[in-house]
Structures are given as C-alpha cells and as structure tokens.
C-alpha cells in the first residue's frame, strides 16, 4: 500500500519498487535488477567498492551526514575480530518516516546493501535494529530474510560466490536514544540503552567491541543503486558533495504530506509548493523544521534554499533525517517549543546532568509560560538554559533538545513575550522570586 501519491518531480531510485505488486519478494526484486550490484561487488576489491561509494558522495542518512565511504574505510578489515553490519532502523526522530517505507516496500534492497557492506569489511553477520513500535516491520523483514535465505541470497556460500552472510532483526523497546549509534549497540548487546564514550567509534569497536559498520536504513538502501549506476552517475543526481537522492518526509500544515524521493539540493520552497501542494488552506508559511525536530527551525524567509547538508549548515540548521515539518501562520511557536521539549525530556536517557535536568527544567518553564503563568525573565531563561546545555551533554540528544529551543526563542521571541505579557505572574520576580508555581 502506498501512503501517498508519488509526485512527478520525484527521482525514483531507492523507491523504484514502491507500488510494484509483490515488491517484497525475491522474484520481484531479482526481476528489477535485484542483486546485480552484489554480483558486481563480488568481482571488486573492497577498496574498489569503497572508492565507488566515496565517488557517489553518499552521506549518512541517519542525520549527521557523515560520508559513508569514508566511514567504511575506517573499519580495520584485517582485525582478527569478527566484523558486524548493523542497520539503524530505530527511526524515532519526530517528523521522520522514511526508513519504514523502505523496509515495508523493498526489504531486499536493504539486505543487498548490507551484503555489500559485509563484503567490504569481511562481515558475516548483520543486525537490523528496529524501533520497538515498528513491530509489523519485523514480520516483513523476517519473512524477507527467510525468503532470501531459501533462495540462496543469504546464508553460506551465497550463490556459489564463497561469501557467507546472514542477517537478523532485533527490536528496541521504545527509546529514542537507542537510535544514537552507541546506545543502539548497548541495547543490541542486551544492556541498558545509554550511549558509550567515544572514541573508540563503532567502526573500530562497535558491537561486542568488534569492528562494526553502522548506518541508517536509507544509507544501506542507497548502496545497490550506487554500484549499479556507478558512483559518479549516482553523485550527479544530487549537488556537489551531496550525492544522489534522498527521501524527504513532508508533514505538517501541507496539502500533500508524504514521503518523496527527490534529488539532493532540491529547493525547499519548491518542495513545499510543488511537491507538497502548498501550505494547507492557502495560508502563509511561518516556519519549517527542515530535518527532524532536532534541527533549528527556519523562518519562512529562510526557506528559499537547496536541501542539502551544506546549504542547511550555512543557514545554521541541519538537513538531519529528512523530516520536513511545515508550519503555517496559525502555529503557536511557544506550543511548538513546548511540544519539542516534552519529547526530549521524555526521551532523555538520564545519563548526564545537563540533559536529564535541563530538559526537565525547560519543559517546566515552557509549560508554565504556555499555561499563562510566565514571567518576564522566562524567555531569556529558556534561551540561557538551552545554551548552557549546548555542547556540554554526553551525547547529541542534549544538543538536539537545545538547538530547536534556542532557534525558536531567537526567531519568535515576540510570541514568548506576548505570552508573558498576558501572565499575572509577569512581574512576580520583582515581588518574590521564590514562590513555587506549579508542577
């Protein structure tokens, strides 16, 4: 089932099987150039494969945009330890819902991507770590894995190539933090999902402290097409340094929400207008979260820009996970800030002081402001506390909570002040700062 009508502006590379009947089966996959990339990879040296991936300018689709070819090259291939392939399918970033479609419609593509990564580093085993709520995807994946195994595409001596590889699914238990790569590994090992101190990075000491390739679902799914098309051709689908296509998840106040595969560097305003059919009800655009809730928001005026990692960085935001959340002029930005903070407060793993305590405090202040009990100092206090968290937490979740908050207070300060002005508590600080207000 397709959740949204495809857009004519899409470049269907990773999503080419979406909508094809029986798209999850081995036969359909093989009939559509499935495993061609693997066949090709078997004939190549690991260096040559990495080179091709480097040429493709593929950058990690999990959020940070780290060049995938480079990441793979960090794996010590001659280490005597076993190597592992791990797929990050924890997809929990608010606004993001692409990995699930890739798995739902074309699990074989993911498996092929993992196999190629396995060939590169000499791994015989891959794990797909799914967010707990993606229960139904486990069935799809397990079925696909079983089918691939039965058809000789997984297991020992795959298709007579002498290459052994198998993969397994593993379900999380509903923690956003378990999408962070090192917390994911802890969780996969059966421990509490808290992040690890890095270095060492997973490439060197990942699953069970062994060399591990850890990438996002979409990143792995990009690999087969890169090898089929050649790295350069794949890179040319996008913009310089930002190769290929990407699945953008359009949501919010938009007429045609959905997941669309567009070339890297696609203009954001055009994406909203032409792909997403414009802002809901013909209203004016107010702000956009460009890559999942962790990214600083863009005001409408900042949205005329190409959607690639570098351009968004220049705009002091991030491309993130491709979750584009559109907000129209009726949006209450204080409520947005509160909603985001509620999420991060709830998801903070609790390991480090600034994130654990900072998110809780910020949530309380924002709740109070939103409830009409704000004080004159609150907008500045929210800004300061979020800034105090920034760059000082153990893992990037703290930053992810701080960054959107800082951007909203900076860009929509008037809305906070309007709230505070209406509050009977506005000037309370002058009278007595220490009266507890409410939980």
């Amino acid at each position: 089932m397709l959740y949204n009508e495809p857009s004519p502006l899409e470049t269907k590379v990773l999503t080419r099987l979406f909508g094809v009947p029986n798209s999850t089966s081995v036969e359909t996959y093989v009939a559509h150039e499935g495993f061609v990339a693997f066949r090709k990879a078997v004939t190549m040296t690991p260096e040559a494969i990495i080179d091709e991936v480097k040429k493709s300018n593929l950058r990690g689709r999990g959020g940070a945009g780290f060049p995938t070819g480079m990441k793979w090259s960090f794996v010590p291939r001659n280490s005597p330890k076993p190597k592992y392939i791990v797929v990050n399918a924890d997809e929990s970033e608010p606004g993001t819902c692409k990995d699930r479609l890739l798995i739902e419609h074309d699990p074989m593509q993911l498996i092929e991507g993992m196999m190629i990564a396995g060939l590169v580093v000499g791994a015989k085993r891959g794990y797909i770590y799914l967010r707990g709520e993606y229960r139904y995807l486990i069935d799809i994946l397990d079925k696909a894995i079983a089918e691939a195994r039965a058809a000789g595409w997984l297991g020992e001596n795959i298709q007579g190539t002498g290459f052994d590889f198998d993969c397994y699914t593993h379900s999380g238990a509903g923690a956003y933090e378990c999408g962070e790569e090192s917390a994911l590994l802890e969780s996969l090992e059966g421990k509490r999902g808290v992040p690890r101190i890095r270095p060492p990075f997973p490439a060197v000491a990942g699953l069970y402290r062994c060399p591990t390739v850890l990438n996002n679902v979409e990143t792995y799914c990009s690999v087969p097409s890169i090898l089929r098309m050649g790295g350069e051709a794949w890179a040319n689908l996008g913009t310089p340094r930002n190769g290929g296509t990407r699945l953008f998840c359009l949501s919010g106040h938009i007429n045609k929400p959905g997941v669309y595969e567009l070339p890297m560097g696609f203009n954001l305003l055009r994406m909203i207008e032409e792909v997403g059919g414009g802002v809901r009800g013909g209203r004016k655009l107010k702000a956009v979260i460009p890559g999942g809730s962790s990214c600083p928001v863009l005001t409408a005026a900042e949205c005329d820009l190409p959607m690639d990692f570098d351009s968004l960085k220049n705009a002091k935001s991030m491309l993130g996970s491709g979750g584009v959340v559109v907000m129209d002029e009726t949006t209450d930005m204080v409520k947005v800030a509160l909603r985001i903070m509620k999420f991060y407060q709830h998801e903070s793993c609790g390991w480090c002081i600034p994130c654990r305590e900072g998110t809780a405090w910020l949530k309380k202040i924002l709740t109070r402001v939103y409830d009409g009990m704000g004080q004159n100092e609150d907008p500045a206090l929210v800004h300061e506390l979020a800034t105090n968290m920034l760059g000082r937490t153990f893992c990037p979740l703290g930053d992810a909570a701080a960054m959107p908050t800082i951007s909203i207070v900076e860009k929509f300060r008037d809305e906070f002040e309007a709230y505070v002005r209406r509050s009977p508590m506005a000037n309370l600080a002058d009278i007595d700062k220490r009266i507890p207000v409410r939980a």
Partner: protein, 708 residues
C-alpha cells in the same frame, strides 16, 4: 611504555605518560578539577560534566575525565567559560536536589556542597516543583534516597566492577532515573557499604550511622578492624566514646577504601548490653560481681599457690588481642608460671609454610602483592566470604592489570567471575587439582598462591614443592582466621614454639600442653583463658580445675570460670596486630567501656598482685612493643611505618622450624561475611542481616556491567 608527552595546564608545563587522563595529570600537579562521576580505578562515566575544561583547538569544552593527554596539548581549567559551565551544571543538578543539607548525613563532607561552594550560583532560579521520590530501605543496613541522588553511578560501579557483586543497577530514564537493586526490590548483597561510602552525596546512608551525628562532631580514629585476619585499616567515627561509623574514606592503609560488612558495621558488639563491665568471682557455685582488687587477689593467689605446689597450669591466648598482650601473656606463662602449656586456636599452618620456605626471602606475599602479582592461585577458600580484602585485592588486580586468577575450590566462588581457569574438587583433594593446572601455571611469569586450612601439614610441603617445580617465582599466603591469628603464632602462643618460631625444646624449655591436651588433662589445676573460648566445644576433664577468664562476654568458658575479668575490645586499646600477610599494623584506642580493662593491664595487675612485676616489666604498650621488637626474630620492623599508620611486613624466621605441626590442631572456624566468632554473636547489625546472602555469585550469572 611510550615516551612521556609534554603539555601545559594553566600555563604550567608538565610531562605525563602518554594516554594518562587529563584529570589525573592535573590533580597530580595540584590542580583540582571537580568531578562527581569520575572515580579513580573505575570505568569512565562522563555523566556529570563537572570536569569540563578548555583545550586549545577543540571547538567545545572537553571532559577531563575521559581526555587522554597528548603532546603539545594546551589546557585551561579555570577560565570564565569553564567556571560558567560548572556553575550551570551545578544549577542543573540542584534543580531536583532537596537541599536538606542541615539534616543530611553527608553535610560537611559532601562533594556537592563543596563544589557548590566553589562554583555554584548564590541564588536559585528554579521556581518549579522538584521531582520527588520517596526514600527506601534496601536492606537492614542500606537506605537510598533518590531525591538526593545525583546519578553519578559510582555506587553501581563500585559494587559491580569493584566488588563483583553487581547488586546495583539503573532504572527508568530522564529525570525519573534512579538507582535500584538489580532485579529485585531489596538487596541480597554483601552489605559491604562500599556504595554508601563512595556516594559523593547523602543519597545512600547506612542504618547504623544515619541521622546519628555530623561529621565534625566526631573524633576520627584510624585503627584496624577487629574481625578477620586481613587487617583492614578503618577510621572509626567516635563521639562520646561511642563508635558511630566505620569507613576509610582517606584511603590510607593496605585496604584503600575497602571494608567489608564487618569492618563497616560490626563494631556494634562493642556497645552490646551483654558486655562484661565488672569482674566476677564464683561463690556458692555462682558468678557474682566483685571488685577489681578482690578478683585480682583471688586469681593471683590461686596462680601463686598452684605454681608453688607444682600444679599444672594451661594458658590460652587470643587471636583477637594485640601482639603486646600475647607476648606479655606467653612471657608470664613461661617466665613466671614456668610452663610451656600455652596455646591458641590455630587456623592455618603457617608453621609448616615457614619451615618449607626457610632460607628464602620474598616468598611471603604482602597485601600489595595480591594486587600486583601477574597470576594468583586460590586453593580451598571462598575468599569473598572469608577473606574479603584478599578477594578484593585479587579482583582489583585482575581489573587493573589483567592478572590471571586460578581457583581450586569445592564450590562456586566469586573469583569464578574473572578466573582464568578453575578446578572444582572434593574437599581434601585440592592437591590433585594442582596438577591439572600445572601447564598453565608454569607458563605464568610469576605466581602467588593463597591457601586455606585445606592445605596443612605435609600438604603444605607438597604445595611448596609444586611451586618450586613450576620454575617461576612463587609467593605464598597461608590464610588464618582472625585479626591477630598470625600475630598469636609469631608471639609463640604454642607450647612447642617460642616467639619468632624458636623451638622451645632447643631453648631448654619443658614440654607443654596444647589446648586439647589441657582440656583432656585430668590433673589440670588452672586454666587461664584470655580472649578465647576453649570450652565452647569441649569440656574440662579436670573437674576441679580453677578457671580464669578475661573476655568481653560471658562465653562458655567464662560461664565455667572461677574468676572473670572484663576486657577491653581491640577498639578500646592500643598496640599492634599482625595480619594474614605478616604485616604489622597499629591499633589505636577509639572508644572505652566503663569497667573493662585492656588485657595487657589485667595481666600486668595480676603480675603485680603476684609480686612478679619486676620480672614482667611495665605493662605499657610501647615498652612491651620495644621489647618485642628487640627480642622476637622478624619483628625488628620499621617503627615510623607502623606508628604513622602503615603496615610493615615482618621477616620470616630464616631458619628451619623442626617441629611436627599437628594438622588436627589446625582448623578454620569458617566464618562467613556475617559471622565473626563470639564478637559476631553480639553484633546486632550482623545478626540483622539475612543468613546466606552475600553469595550473589552462586545464584545467578552476573553479567559484566560495562559502560565505557
């Protein structure tokens, strides 16, 4: 080792080994960097973010507790940016902290208070309600107050990594996160209190100390734990002659901060209602309170009379009193009473070991060696139960140096968690287990063998022969039971051996009786028992024997006594004791019990009463120690080391000890973590702890708690 690197910290150039943690390097040059979660010797947590510092070239502040130093690094630890970051971390952590410092146990020695004094804001900006979770009691001795907890995870690490109990874990997340007993709502653990001790704040408190005192109201007396032979240094917190707490936060002594449940809580026997506080004399078949002078006169008179009549006198010394007292006692027996019938309850065959090792130096391990040896073999002892510090040293050695631990035991032991190889044997067949390990052991660069009373008599010689056959340097520890069990042997509390293991016969001394012989002698006239309970499992054959007892409690022997003197405990006297590794340490008087006297004084007063004080010399600890140093071979130890609270290892005798040690006399009483002979019976704390636990390693496979 790699070449040292040069770096600058706050403008001062320093050299440090490559890879050493910045926080350690800074601290070693006197620059303190605050830390809650960092704790030397444990895995890194990097959770509190208090140690953030500026490092040139890094885009953001870095945690000094995880940052290895490298060449050319330029570090600043006290810039406005750093101070501001610390201030804000404190502001965050204080948001949900109850700030009940005025009643908190930790007030005055709290790391959060200290850091707040140094970096914190003067005023709070937190207007909201604080999260609150109720305090809970996890065990008879451990309480947890989640509201005070700053989640530094030190407790989790000390319990798991450090002790190997893995009793603590983390539950929930975000601001609701808290520490919990693993897999249960209560603790079934070693109850060692290490978690309480290591907690930087007052979140973990102990039943015995909580809400009892403020730290500044107490005297802090460094002495030695009176329970097992491992000889942990403990700092007793004392107020008005009452011991309120035992810990070793200053990490002085051979045990660093380690104490087991007995060292930490089982000082409460000291104030038991059943302590003897007045001498007693039997009259009309019943023990009745008497004055010191009457009791002394009575006992001294009897001793004098029996001696003059040439009657048989048996003297039993103690494994819990000081070296000075035991030395003085054997001197009394041999020189005043003219008998060699002096003995003590033997728990390990030190004598045969010393004989087998005669002429070697460096073959007796120190407590420190247990931590540094490349390989350790444990034979026939459940160390975590019986020798907690030895177990701790061996485990820490494995943690820090990846040493190899081998075990030959009857059942599961905690060392299994990290042992390199283990052998299970039927009791009595330990020696067979040795052979199965031969190849592995011979491949080690060196070995330290720890053995209990399963190896005694000829087996000790076999063991040493086995050690020799490995072709590597081997050191030994012969386990003994109580705090001064080793010292009692060194002081010659054996009929066949004089102080320093000189053979009594060779010195022209007559034969003497062992404890079983004393009990069996139908013609025994006097039995004098000091800090021992020989009649606990045996009766006197000589029905008319006059029994003199010095003890803290009315033991079985005391019940049979004709005169009983109330003695002071080890916590109430000064002197020295010798631990399982032959290390001499000083005990200091911490408390006192009205009416009781130190055994040294009681013996001295008896001598005076008998008119033999000039023979015996003054009963002052220092004077006796000086004599003992002069006359007991091996005890010519470094005085400054001992007087400043250190441990000085005695030298082995250096000559053969040609006596046949009787294995039947050697028997460990097999105390566990929660028993400690007579003293244990009178410790309410120990008795309140459930029997049986402290054996987590038997019940489940504990997974390594790793986070780094």
């Amino acid at each position: 080792m790699a070449d040292p690197v040069k770096l600058t910290i706050n403008g001062v150039a320093v050299e440090a080994p490559q890879g050493k943690l910045l926080i350690e390097v800074a601290r070693s040059m006197g620059t303190d960097i605050p830390s809650f979660c960092y704790y030397e010797g444990y895995s890194q947590a990097a959770a509190c973010r208090m140690c953030l510092v500026e490092i040139e070239g890094m885009p953001k502040l870095m945690t000094a507790c995880t940052q290895p130093v490298s060449e050319g690094m330029v570090v600043r630890t006290e810039t406005p940016q750093v101070a501001e970051a610390r201030k804000s971390m404190l502001e965050f952590v204080l948001t949900n902290h109850p700030l009940d410092c005025p009643v908190c146990d930790k007030g005055g020695e709290c790391e959060l208070q200290d850091a707040t004094m140094r970096y914190g804001a003067g005023e709070g900006r937190f207007l909201e309600m604080k999260f609150h979770h109720e305090e809970r009691q996890w065990s008879p001795v451990v309480y947890y107050d989640p509201a005070r907890c700053i989640l530094c995870f030190r407790c989790v690490r000390v319990c798991g990594e450090g002790l190997g109990a893995y009793a603590l874990g983390v539950s929930e997340r975000a601001v609701g996160e808290e520490i919990v007993p693993n897999g249960s709502d209560h603790l079934d653990c070693d109850e060692c209190g290490l978690c309480i001790d290591i907690c930087p704040v007052g979140a973990l408190t102990s039943d015995s100390y909580r809400y009892q005192a403020r730290p500044w109201e107490m005297n802090h007396v460094g002495t030695i734990c009176t329970h097992c032979s491992n000889g942990c240094k403990t700092t007793l917190g004392v107020r008005n002659d009452r011991i309120l707490r035992g810990n070793n936060r200053d990490r002085s002594g051979i045990n660093g901060e380690f104490l087991c449940v007995k060292g930490r809580y089982a000082f409460d026997f000291n104030e038991s209602d059943e302590r003897l506080t007045t001498p007693m004399i039997r009259s009309n078949g019943e023990l009745r309170p008497a004055s010191w002078s009457d009791a002394l006169r009575f006992a001294a008179g009897k001793l004098k009379q029996v001696k003059e009549a040439g009657g048989k006198i048996g003297v039993v010394g103690s494994t819990r009193i000081t070296n000075e007292e035991n030395f003085y006692l054997q001197k009394f027996a041999r020189e005043v009473l003219g008998t060699n019938s002096i003995d003590h309850q033997r728990s390990g065959d030190v004598v045969t070991l010393l004989d087998a090792l005669a002429g070697r130096s460096g073959a007796l391990a120190t407590t420190e060696d247990l931590y540094t040896a490349k390989a350790v073999l444990v034979i026939g002892s459940d160390l975590a139960q019986q020798h907690p510090l030895v177990a701790w040293q061996i485990r820490t050695n494995w943690r820090h140096h990846e040493s190899h631990t081998y075990t030959i035991t009857q059942g599961p032991v905690r060392e299994d968690l990290h042992s390199f190889a283990r052998v299970r044997v039927e009791p009595g067949r330990e020696m067979e287990g040795l052979e199965t390990l031969r190849e592995k052991l011979a491949a080690e660069p060196e070995l330290l063998i720890v053995f209990g009373d399963a190896v005694k008599g000829e087996k000790v010689r076999e063991l040493v022969a086995f050690g020799d056959s490995l072709g590597i340097p081997v050191k030994y520890v012969c386990l003994v039971d109580t705090v001064n069990a080793r010292g009692a042997m060194d002081m010659g509390l054996m009929p066949e051996l004089l102080p320093g293991y000189r053979v009594a016969k060779d010195a022209g001394q007559p034969d003497g009786m062992t404890i079983p012989e004393m009990l069996a002698a139908r013609d025994l006239s006097v039995l004098w028992s000091v800090g021992a309970d020989p009649l606990a499992d045996g009766a006197l054959a000589s029905e008319g024997a006059f029994v003199i007892v010095q003890d803290l409690f009315l033991t079985d022997t005391a019940r049979r006594a004709d005169v009983v003197f109330p003695s002071a405990s080890l916590y109430e006297k000064s002197g020295t004791v010798t631990n399982v590794c032959g290390e001499v340490q000083r005990v200091k008087r911490a408390a006192q019990t009205m009416g009781a006297k130190a055994d040294l004084e009681i013996i001295g007063l008896l001598a005076k009463e008998m008119g033999v004080a000039p023979v015996m010399g003054p009963w002052m600890t220092d004077k006796v120690f000086a004599e003992l140093m002069r006359t007991v071979p091996g005890y010519n130890i470094s005085l400054p080391v001992v007087t400043t609270g250190g441990a000085a290892q005695t030298l082995p005798p250096g000559h053969r000890i040609p006596v046949q040690s009787d294995p039947a006399l050697i028997r460990s009483v097999g105390d566990t973590l929660y028993t400690s002979g007579t003293l244990g019976k009178y410790s309410k704390k120990l008795n309140s702890l459930m029997e049986g636990p402290g054996k987590l390693y038997e019940e489940r496979t504990v997974r390594e708690w790793t986070h780094a």
